[in-house]
């Protein structure tokens, strides 16, 4: 076997037992890696109806065919489990040294179940697994935890995936952090690990990785790496994703003041250009990446002096325009604190912006905020709320539940502007101005996501009228989901996507050079459809119905007041038509369920028995 190891490590932290499951080359070709493999492991190891914060929820890591090798941006891993935010499948991606360490230790995947009797950190030292007392680590922030473990082991090869104070306190959108600033960010997987009383999973992998055709693999890798130095990735290399701030602002879809507006008057002051000019110190890379998009910024002086982190657009919009904040050091500080506490910046920002709108409308008062006055743009209040959420102090305890649960508790009409789908907070494109993406948000298996659905590209590039819905969008949504799924499964960072001429022919070739397993474009396409159906199957088993595929009321009722998408909103009847066209494109029933024959055709016979109709 090349590249793959054929081994899945199972860890039971309740009984401190482990075993290794052997998997065949056929199984690995079928699920490939990444999100697809992680979803399969979650489906097989988490029983129906499991409490997301209970011992039965399996936290599943999966590496990929390209991890730890010279294939540019291929050193990634996925993590999946039942999400404490959505109750459906939570699937995340992260990258860098930790991803390679999984494979170098000899595993294609790791499944962690159970709950420790006291805080532990799990150390996977190639073939041996240790359960270590984490009493001295509990309470530490994310990166200090990783550093403390490395210092304890005295070996830089030890890489760790950790939780911070937010994961320890079961903040429903706590995340998993590895290699300082890489996060399996969304859907609350940090709370899943925190509930197991696992502070960190550390790995020392020392095994070499063999590939089937090194000469051809290296030649293509070098070629791709060279293309990745051209204009095809320039946006990521120079400004990073914050380049989106002004672009989205021009389109009128930059979420502003909790999605009340799509245009932000302070956009210039928190733009990628402004950040680059005044705060960026260096762009750095994940392991195995020749692009280097991570914009490391530093605040030299003032009240946030010393704050240093990496900034991406999605984090920036969430705690910036979305909270009315146009003060860059405040944005940097809020993001830096989220990273340190181990919380999803998007969910944090969107939950805080909901609370700020509650304050604006008098639904929540100064007393509810313990004396804080979270007016729009009050960055001190935003930074203070970030901390209160992480430690569940004051109103932070309510907000730590995520915007869906917080709005249900507070009521008074605040559900109207609780910006979530399935319980996962929205992302950085106002869906009213990109209506194919609105469909993608509604039907997304993990909730609204710019990473799982690339439908906004269809809208923004003008393939369709982005301000209108239409019955042709179902197949476009499917197409962009499966395009994204290739990157999430094979796995490659999506920032290299423009460097391929045709992923459906180039990627199978690269896959075969790495693994020695023949793969045709049609087989890859089928695998992507299988991957998506697998995630959906997990949700159906957990009780999904078509009512779960819908959008927040604001997007369906309130037209955007001004800017490049003025007047746009998603008409509910149009959304219904788009959703039906999507189910049809996927070969599902009008109720969005998967016919047995479909699952059988995808090679998911066992699942057909469970959930097929």
């Amino acid at each position: 076997m090349y590249s793959y190891t054929g081994k899945i490590l199972h860890i039971d932290v309740t009984n401190r037992k482990t075993h290794v499951q052997q998997v065949s080359e056929d199984f690995l070709k079928r699920y490939m890696g990444g999100v697809s493999l992680a979803a399969r492991l979650a489906y097989d190891n988490t029983p129906k109806g499991a409490d997301p914060l209970g011992p039965d929820n399996a936290l599943c890591f999966a590496t990929s065919a390209f991890a730890g090798m010279m294939v540019p941006v291929g050193t990634k891993h996925a993590v999946a489990a039942k999400s404490p935010l959505t109750g459906f499948l939570g699937d995340c991606l992260a990258s860098s040294h930790f991803s390679a360490a999984i494979k170098r230790a000899g595993y294609d995947g790791i499944v962690i179940k159970g709950k420790a009797d006291k805080p532990v950190w799990v150390f996977i030292d190639d073939d041996v697994v240790y359960f270590n007392d984490a009493a001295d680590l509990w309470g530490l922030e994310t990166f200090p935890t990783e550093e403390a473990i490395r210092a304890k082991m005295g070996d830089e090869r030890v890489r760790a995936c950790t939780i911070g104070p937010a994961g320890e306190r079961l903040v429903r959108f706590a995340n998993l952090t590895n290699d300082r600033g890489r996060q399996a960010g969304r859907t609350g997987l940090g709370a899943v690990m925190g509930a197991k009383l696992i502070k960190a999973v550390a790995i020392r992998g020392t095994k070499p990785i063999k590939v089937a055709d090194p000469d051809k693999l290296c030649a293509i890798a070098r070629q791709l790496g060279e293309i990745a130095q051209t204009s095809k990735t320039e946006k990521y290399r120079i400004l990073g994703t914050p380049a989106n701030v002004l672009a989205m602002n021009r389109l009128g879809i930059l979420p502003t003041r909790n999605y009340q507006e799509g245009e932000f008057e302070g956009a210039e002051k928190i733009s990628g250009e402004y950040m680059h000019e005044h705060y960026t110190q260096k762009a750095v890379a994940c392991a195995g990446c020749p692009i280097a998009c991570e914009q490391m910024v530093y605040v030299k002086e003032g009240e946030y002096g010393g704050a240093r982190t990496s900034i991406d657009y999605e984090s920036l919009y969430a705690v910036g325009p979305n909270c009315g904040v146009d003060y860059m050091p405040g944005v940097i500080a809020a993001i830096e604190r989220c990273d340190a506490y181990g919380m999803d910046t998007l969910s944090t920002g969107v939950t805080i912006s909901w609370a700020m709108e509650c304050f604006q409308r008098g639904i929540l008062t100064k007393e509810d905020f313990g004396g804080l006055e979270p007016h729009w743009g009050n960055h001190q209040a935003v930074v203070a709320l970030v901390k209160q959420i992480a430690y569940r102090e004051g109103i932070g305890d309510l907000l730590a539940e995520g915007v869906k649960r917080a709005a249900a508790k507070v009521g008074k009409g605040s559900e109207h502007f609780a910006m979530h789908v399935k319980g996962l907070e929205a992302c950085g494109y106002d869906a009213r101005g990109v209506q194919t993406f609105a469909l993608g948000c509604a039907v997304g298996t993990r909730g609204p996501c710019h990473n799982r659905s690339l439908a906004y590209e269809v809208d923004i590039k003008g393939e369709v009228d982005r301000l209108k819905a239409g019955p042709d969008r179902g197949k476009l949504a499917k197409r962009t989901e499966e395009f994204a799924a290739v990157f999430d499964t094979v796995m490659l960072c999506k920032f290299i996507r423009a460097c391929f001429k045709d992923i459906w022919t180039e990627i199978p070739q690269l896959y075969t050079y790495a693994t020695g397993i023949p793969l045709t474009p049609d087989e890859l396409k089928l695998a992507m459809e299988r991957a998506w159906n697998l995630k959906k199957a997990f949700n159906i088993r957990e009780g999904w119905t078509k009512e779960d595929d819908w959008l927040p009321p604001r997007w369906l009722k309130d037209p955007l007041p001004a800017g490049g998408s003025k007047g746009a909103y998603v008409k509910p009847e149009d959304l219904r038509i788009m959703i039906q066209s999507y189910y049809e494109a996927r070969g599902w029933t009008p109720n969005g369920l998967i016919p047995k024959e479909k699952l059988v055709a995808l090679g998911l016979e066992d699942i057909a028995e469970d959930i097929g109709v």
């Binding site: 600033g181 060279e226 990745a228």
Partner: protein
């Protein structure tokens, strides 16, 4: 003039910490991807300090002096350190003597290895695969020349603005 040997130099401003150099090296020398078998190692001190380190082909190299079994010799022409596998027993004294941490003890052969500038290939593979062009071959004098050229051309750009 004391002889200076060309060796791998890393520009910390250009290095992004991707570690492709390590993978290129282990592939060239051992046909696998494994940083632990790489003769060039990337050091990453978070958050923004990163630099790759390989054998600097010192004149009067301390590793050669330190070897109790005379397993190491320096090639007089290229300056690379040659390891006699029959004599090396992996004791590691050379590793302790090296001021740059540039020597690798191969865990399976128990022999030491160091950068030979890919003597058997047309160019060092780490340099070939470094997409950021952070790695290059040089000696202290040429490094200084390069820096001077860069700083002066930058100044001229400012002047013609």
């Amino acid at each position: 003039m004391e002889k200076q040997f060309q060796h791998i130099i890393c520009d910390p401003d250009k290095c992004v910490g991707c570690q492709e150099c390590e993978l290129a090296c282990s592939m060239a020398k051992h046909q696998v991807f494994d940083p632990a078998l790489s003769r060039i190692r990337n050091v990453r001190i978070e958050p923004i300090v990163m630099l790759s380190v390989a054998c600097r082909l010192c004149s009067d190299p301390p590793c050669v002096t330190a070897c109790p079994r005379n397993a190491l010799t320096q090639d007089p022409e290229k300056g690379i350190i040659l390891v006699d596998p029959d004599l090396c027993d992996g004791c590691g004294w050379c590793i302790e003597a090296c001021e740059f941490g540039a020597i690798l003890l191969n865990p399976s052969t128990k022999k030491v290895e160091m950068c030979d500038l890919c003597a058997d290939l047309d160019e060092p593979q780490c340099v070939k695969y470094c997409q950021k062009k952070a790695l290059y071959l040089g000696v202290p004098e040429t490094v200084a020349q390069k820096t001077r050229r860069e700083v002066v051309s930058k100044l001229l750009q400012e002047l013609v603005k």
